[in-house]
């Protein structure tokens, strides 16, 4: 709370500064084309050359009031402007290389210090996406991928992903922010406990972050995907940040119809703007219907979104106030059913729906005068989801199967399931998220250095009000389920509070411009029990980006700008609700398994233990990013190269642990079935007490993900006459996955009637190194006269490799049946039981597998008709490919590529 008090005091002090603003004369420097402020432009006396001032973050500068000399305004990348001070204080600088009217259909490297890709509306129109996933093709290292909308789509930035859920922290730790409000997935508990079938498990997206299928692209004005070190204003992330800004204003009524090989999309929007009232309203809706296989109606994904966005601005002499209010609804529905004609009318279906209602209000206050306080922004957002998974299946058992029912520890009789029943299992989740953020931007008046100080804090709450796993234990879809029904309401709400401060400077000097952004973010989890290691702990995320731009150079008569920049930053992602509060595990042991012809006399007695698999030692996942970049611009042709290294040693993973339990093994052999008149009583049965090892999983910080690589982009100017622009981008990625925690494994072989009673403990299990090197060559042509645009993209994958990290076949230790731990001795490999702990890896499994060159050629065309009211676009990915056969250790591998195409129509009225 001290932070809050500090901010309030600071605001009051700063407000007083406004009164002091009359002693200077102010001006503003804008880009002549975009009319956007130019930061860090130098204002000098044209005659003496004496630097008088620099422009601040809003493009403004202050001069001593008595200054009447001619001004020379310079900023790198712009033609110098020599002018007398103007009465309105507006100075327009013209870029050395004009970008006016340029239509960019690729992602562009952001011009700021943070390494990020900016994707504008034009690029999206040209790309013709169905969901946000398709946009990632434009990132360095990205490649067009056929949409796969029947399972969740997760983001993997700077990574060659692995399907293992033990390395999902990378996608979990990528934050999606839409119009300032993050999409929280921390309270997502939508998994079917005990599910083993592909129908359910392939759609489990818990602890994996945002499902990008649910984000429609049509309202998006621009996207910024931060690959490098983001501002400390953004937290609860490790890997990246996706900032989406949606359209505001306009007067169009728009429709979009898209169809490709797997999906159909329909979009309608009405844009309203009342310029004189500075009020805009945008209403839109879209509907996507995708099928895994166009011939199969029973497996599909549907998305319905609705959005209403209101924006109002009040302009006053001293300040500007803006209010945004967004109301969003989105519904995602996964459906998968077996054909009843093939299953004798037996029901076998999976249905998962996500319904998200979100409300966002943000208030933005900007001062216009000379004040230390430049702006204050308050964002409040809340969302409520109603998520429901419904799994129905006619269960027909092949053998007598039981359902443990006991909710308490101890001996109990199990329920013997009927051989045929219709099982129904629901997962009811109602994640609630509330988010509040306050940002204050301050500026110390200074005539040498352009500066901004950002102070802020945010608070996030996640709670789930759902009923959780709901099923009748007498008719389970998944038999042998080790969890019982549990209401999610019992789980305490996750609270996260952060405060941050960040300074930004830009200092133009004769030997170049120096820029720096340095900040610190402090985050703490609240509402945790004291038992948790995170209790009362604050996690610090220091992040710094620095840049140095050389003075203007010239090459073959073309202006040349070179910037070197570097960034380093710590990033912290708190564990999710499921990772902190996993379901209790019920570990049951059969003590008596008595079968009788008369069902009433059958008896299965269990010993039930309850294990709480929560790991109170769990810490947040932390990723340290380091990068250096070079940005060269020669006459409007720009090349950027970034080398990065991101090391996250504390990624979340599910780890198994073994423990010894005791149970009685009753000997029923003495029972004469013919004399029984009821279930056999336990009291009279002889028994032996046995030990048994049983494993359970809990979350640890054992996953290491090391991302290294080089990203590069070359964008040329549009060549005249051929009206074509060349973009070359790509990346070399090397991703190392590793498990830093000892893993355990119990062989499942049964020797002399009993499963092997030993568990091996293995070090450095489950590691791999993957590499990929790709380059996309995109030629895009824009013929304004014909209202025609087309592009060809040759997407070359030079190679991909994968290599498992060599691990020992031998355990370091083993757990004996009584639970004691012993060191492994070489002679143990000869033991009748212990020999099974030796694993089967051979040297060749750790050899590097390399897949050589492959290239796909993609084509996209857009044509505007009827005064631009009708756009027709089509794309064909993998229109042509070069994927030669290759030899892998004596085996010829043939590769096959199938084209993917689609068509769309946009109508603007």
């Amino acid at each position: 709370m001290q932070v809050v008090r500090f901010i309030i005091v600071a605001l009051m002090v700063l407000a007083l500064q406004i009164a002091d603003a009359q002693t200077v004369k102010s001006g503003i420097v804008l880009d002549a084309e975009a009319l956007e402020p130019i930061v860090g432009a130098t204002i000098a006396d044209a005659q003496s050359g004496k630097v008088l001032s620099v422009t601040q973050a809003d493009g403004s500068f202050n001069l001593p009031k008595n200054n009447e000399a001619r001004l020379r305004i310079t900023s790198i990348g712009y033609k110098p402007l020599i002018t007398m001070p103007t009465s309105d204080g507006r100075y327009l600088l013209h870029a050395e290389v004009s970008q006016l009217g340029e239509v960019v259909v690729t992602a562009q490297e952001n011009k700021g210090l943070t390494t990020s890709s900016r994707i504008e509306k034009h690029a999206m129109e040209h790309l013709q996406p169905s969901s946000f996933s398709d946009i990632l093709e434009l990132l360095p290292g990205g490649r067009s991928v056929d949409p796969s909308l029947s399972t969740p789509n997760n983001i993997h930035i700077r990574e060659i992903s692995t399907p293992s859920s033990n390395y999902a922290t990378s996608s979990l730790g990528t934050s999606f922010i839409i119009d300032g409000a993050p999409i929280s997935t921390n309270a997502n508990m939508q998994y079917l406990a005990g599910a083993w079938d592909v129908m359910a498990s392939s759609r489990d997206n818990t602890n994996a972050g945002v499902d990008m299928r649910g984000i429609s692209t049509d309202d998006i004005e621009r996207v910024e995907i931060v690959r490098g070190v983001p501002s400390v204003e953004y937290g609860d992330l490790t890997s990246g940040l996706v900032k989406i800004e949606r359209r505001r204003g306009g007067h169009d009524l728009k429709f979009r119809l898209k169809a490709d090989m797997g999906s159909k999309l329909l979009y309608a929007a009405k844009d309203l703007e009342w310029e004189n009232r500075r009020l805009t309203l945008n209403i839109s809706a879209d509907y996507l219907d995708a099928k895994a296989d166009p011939r199969n109606n029973l497996e599909n994904y549907k998305r319905l979104t609705f959005s209403a966005r209101l924006h109002k601005r009040w302009e006053q002499e001293r300040y500007q106030l803006a209010l945004s209010s967004n109301l969003d609804f989105s519904r995602s529905l996964d459906n998968d059913k077996e054909d009843v004609d093939q299953t004798y009318s037996a029901e076998d279906s999976y249905k998962s729906s996500y319904n998200r209602y979100a409300l966002l209000t943000s208030l933005s206050f900007k001062t216009k005068g000379h004040s230390w306080l430049k702006s204050a922004d308050l964002t409040l957002s809340g969302s409520l989801e109603k998520d429901l998974i419904e799994r129905t299946k006619l269960v027909q058992l092949s053998r007598m199967t039981i359902a443990p029912l006991s909710m308490v520890e101890g001996e109990n009789d199990a329920y013997i399931l009927p051989f045929k029943y219709t099982g129904h299992h629901e997962v009811d989740g109602k994640p609630v998220n509330a988010y509040a953020k306050l940002n204050v931007r301050l500026q110390v008046p200074n005539n040498t250095v352009s500066n901004t100080l950002l102070l802020g804090m945010d608070w996030n709450l996640d709670k789930n009000l759902g009923r959780g796993q709901v099923f009748d234990p007498h008719t389970p879809v998944y038999t042998g389920i080790s969890s019982r029904a549990r209401s999610l309401k019992e789980i305490p709400a996750n609270h996260r509070l952060s405060a941050y401060g960040e300074g930004t400077i830009k200092w133009p000097t004769p030997v170049g411009t120096i820029e720096a952004v340095a900040g610190l973010r402090v985050t703490s989890m609240l509402n945790l029990e004291q038992a948790y290691a995170m209790y009362g702990k604050a996690y610090l995320d220091p992040r710094v980006n620095v840049g140095y731009t050389l003075p203007r150079l010239s090459l073959f008569g073309q202006p040349m700008f070179i910037r070197l920049s570097a960034g380093i930053g710590q990033h912290t992602k708190m564990p999710t609700m499921e990772q902190l509060f996993p379901d209790l595990l019920y570990v049951d042991f059969i003590q008596l398994n008595y079968y009788h012809d008369n069902p009433d006399y059958r008896r299965i007695n269990l010993m039930t233990y309850i294990v709480n698999p929560r790991n109170t030692a769990l810490e947040p996942a932390r990723n340290l990013k380091k990068e250096v970049s070079l940005d060269i611009n020669i006459g409007g042709n720009r090349m950027t190269v970034t080398a990065f290294r991101e090391k996250m040693t504390s990624g979340f993973r599910m780890q198994s642990y073994y423990q010894t339990y005791q149970y009685k093994q009753y000997d029923a052999s003495g029972i004469d079935p013919s004399t029984l008149t009821s279930q056999p009583p336990l009291e009279t049965l002889p028994y032996t007490v046995l030990n048994e090892l049983a494993g359970y999983g809990n979350y640890t910080n054992g996953s290491m993900t090391l991302k290294e690589g080089i990203e590069y982009t070359l964008e040329t100017k549009r060549f005249p006459v051929i009206l074509t622009r060349l973009t070359i981008n790509g990346a070399y990625f090397r991703t190392t996955y590793n498990n830093s925690i000892v893993d355990s494994y119990r062989p499942s072989q049964v020797i002399a009637g009993r499963q092997i009673q030993y568990v091996g403990l293995y070090e450095a299990d489950d590691g791999s190194v993957r590499e990929a090197f790709n380059t996309n060559f995109t030629l895009d042509t824009d013929v304004p006269r014909l209202r025609l645009g087309f592009s060809f993209s040759a997407q070359c994958m030079w190679f991909t490799t994968s290599q498992r990290t060599e691990v020992s076949n031998y355990p370091v230790q083993y757990i004996a049946p009584d639970g004691s731990i012993h060191d492994w001795k070489a002679s143990d490999a000869e033991d009748m039981y212990l020999r099974w702990l030796v694993r089967d890896y051979t040297a060749s499994q750790f050899e590097k597998n390399q897949v050589p060159f492959a290239m796909n050629l993609n084509m996209k065309v857009t044509k505007k008709l009827f005064d631009d009211r009708l756009h027709i676009a089509m794309f064909c990915n993998k229109l042509w490919d070069y994927t030669p056969d290759y030899d892998s250790r004596g085996t010829t591998i043939r590769r096959h590529v199938t084209p993917y195409f689609g068509l769309e129509m946009n109508i603007k009225l």
């Binding site: 299953t343 051989f419 012809d597 499942s748 009993r754 099974w836 089967d840 051979t842 591998i893």
Partner: protein
């Protein structure tokens, strides 16, 4: 031994020739030799009795078991001082033996009429021809596909295997194990070492328990070994009542996910199984099956009959040297019968040595063929009702036969 008999014979001849006054000469030593079928080993004769009835005088001479002496071809007995004449000879008794390692037994009675015994002809040869002791235990049926429910779902708890005594002697099924191959007939790998010519690599071994002579099986009789020896028809009307099975594959476990109903039938002794879940036969028939007479103790086998193999795994863009460690093996000599099972569309090789099964049989011609349910592989019978066993299941089995225990 033989020398002394010759000596005695010589003396006897001398004595008879000297005593020429007697009208009916007495043959001092008559030797009755009993020849047992040559393929029997470890033969023990018990309760033997030879009766020599003089056709003229109806005088009966009986030789009791104690006088039977074992020799290399069978047994011999001596009969002293009987009158020369024409005799009807009957030899009966009980034989215990092993036949290809399997304990067996048979009562016999052989007779020979109007045999002349005289001082010059006193060696009688009796050959046991009432049985041949050919054949042995065979797998007569494997029902591995399971049944289908009225809703078309698969039900696999009613799998069974039938082994039949295909000989004409009683054989003991004690220590006969049902073996499932460790390798799939649908995935050929060049395992190194390749031991197929000497051993069968197995992933499951369930043995019929007994003290050696606990489980006699009469000639032509069968043992029904059920995955679950219960009456399945109460739960699955299309299934089978297996509550009368002779033995059951029971998997004792404390894990409630894998409850195995323990029917009334005695349980097979589970020596080894690759999985701690429920054991059942591969329902598409990707593994070969065999029965073997286990000729060592469980401890010895578990300790010493295990090996590691390597092979090159090739799939798609992978080509890796792999190790399959911990493969149990059973010497081919222990194997009484074996059947390669596979599916035509995915079959790659046989995993039993050709001396055990040179062919293969099936239910379903394509992988996951749903018409395979309720079908079995059944050994053909010849005109006499004996099972055909040419060590080639392509020839010996009826593929896709209606399961014999299913009511049709």
């Amino acid at each position: 031994m033989l020398n002394s008999i010759v000596m005695m014979l010589a003396m006897a001849l001398c004595l008879t020739s000297c005593n020429s006054d007697d009208p009916i000469p007495v043959v001092p030593t008559t030797v009755v030799s009993l020849e047992v079928p040559a393929n029997l080993e470890d033969v023990v004769l018990s309760g033997a009795k030879a009766t020599l009835t003089n056709v003229e005088t109806q005088q009966v001479t009986t030789i009791e078991a104690s006088q039977f002496v074992k020799d290399e071809n069978g047994y011999k007995m001596m009969c002293n001082n009987i009158e020369a004449g024409t005799y009807n000879v009957i030899v009966s008794g009980h034989l215990d033996f092993t036949l290809k390692g399997v304990a067996g037994q048979k009562d016999f009675e052989v007779s020979s009429d109007n045999v002349v015994i005289s001082p010059t002809s006193h060696d009688l040869k009796m050959t046991i021809s009432t049985f041949t002791a050919q054949g042995g235990f065979v797998i007569s049926e494997i029902f591995y596909t399971g049944t289908s429910t009225p809703e078309g779902k698969s039900y696999s708890g009613d799998q069974y295997i039938i082994i039949t005594n295909n000989s004409d002697v009683t054989l003991y099924a004690d220590s006969i194990a049902v073996l499932e191959s460790a390798f799939l007939t649908t995935t050929k790998q060049d395992y190194d070492p390749d031991i197929m010519s000497t051993h069968f690599s197995v992933q499951a071994c369930y043995m019929i328990p007994g003290n050696g002579k606990s489980v006699p099986v009469e000639p032509g009789q069968s043992l029904k070994l059920a995955i679950n020896a219960i009456n399945h028809t109460t739960e699955q009307p299309n299934s089978i009542d297996l509550s009368d099975a002779d033995f059951e594959f029971y998997d004792e476990t404390s894990n409630p996910n894998f409850t195995d109903p323990d029917g009334a039938a005695p349980n097979l002794d589970k020596w080894y199984c690759y999985t701690a879940t429920i054991y059942q036969f591969h329902s598409r028939g990707f593994n070969s099956m065999a029965i073997a007479k286990m000729q060592t103790s469980k401890e010895d086998w578990l300790e010493n009959y295990v090996y590691d193999a390597t092979y090159l795994f090739v799939f798609g863009d992978f080509s890796k040297e792999m190790t399959k460690s911990g493969i149990y093996k059973v010497p081919n000599e222990w194997i009484l019968d074996g059947v390669n099972l596979s599916v035509e569309s995915v079959r790659e090789w046989n995993v039993l040595d050709a001396s055990i099964d040179a062919g293969w049989t099936y239910c379903g011609k394509v992988d996951r063929d749903e018409t395979r349910f309720n079908k079995s592989v059944i050994r053909k019978q010849d005109a006499s009702g004996k099972y055909v066993d040419t060590n080639n299941s392509t020839n010996d089995f009826i593929p896709e036969a209606a399961a014999s225990l299913l009511k049709h």
